[in-house]
Symmetry: C2
Subunit: 136 residues, 2 copies
């Protein structure tokens, strides 16, 4: 497994934002399960991933598939009382940093709960006023 | 790539139900992006996948990751006017047949549209009266 992937698996699940940031490329793109937009840039993406990691409970990676720069990391977790399954679709750059991070999930009801929890988390984080232009 | 995976990529996207069925194990499980339940059995799962393939428009597989019995197939498509991205999370059995087929997708709005379109498709397929017990 690529070392970035194993490091990512250790820190993303726990929302350790300060340890997530060094794994991200400067111009990393994060495509969330909730809406059809893209977060761009290391600081806002690390902040979003930090909140996601803290919203998810009982997070556990399952199968890890891929090689080289292309990786799919299957996971399961809870959002409140609701079960969820998802996949981190990761692309690394030539330096081994995460340049694209797309998340697909199931089922619908759990992603609705995720949207509500993420909206609340971001609304309570003053940095997101400055980060607004990073959502494209 | 495993031959089941390449055959699957050729027929699932087009909803060719009669060609999907021979790729499925007798006791295949299908876990849809829309709800937290599991379809069990070759005939109902082939029927559901047939409808899914016809509901998705402009379907295109992107990256294929995995090896052996574990595969993740990234795709993009449209549901009506809405863009969607998803992943087929596939497990093969020892005979090389698909024994588990779980689908995670994004974003929320597109999965809501998928749910509505699938409900309409299944409501118009009389076989789903008999298939009801296959949804567990």
């Amino acid at each position: 497994m690529h070392p970035t992937i194993s490091q990512m698996m250790a820190v993303v699940a726990e929302g350790r934002e300060d340890e997530i940031a060094p794994l991200l490329a400067e111009e990393v793109q994060f495509l969330p399960p909730t809406y059809w937009k893209t977060w761009v840039g290391r600081a806002p993406v690390a902040a979003v991933l930090g909140h996601v990691g803290r919203v998810f409970e009982g997070f556990r990676y399952r199968r890890v598939m891929g090689q080289g720069v292309d990786w799919a990391l299957e996971f399961e977790c809870k959002i409140g009382a609701l079960d969820a399954v998802g996949v981190d679709l990761i692309t690394l750059d030539e330096a081994g940093l995460i340049v694209r991070f797309e998340v697909a999930m199931r089922p619908l009801k759990s992603v609705e709960a995720l949207r509500a929890a993420m909206n609340a988390a971001v609304a309570g984080d003053a940095r997101f006023l400055a980060f607004r232009s990073a959502l494209q």
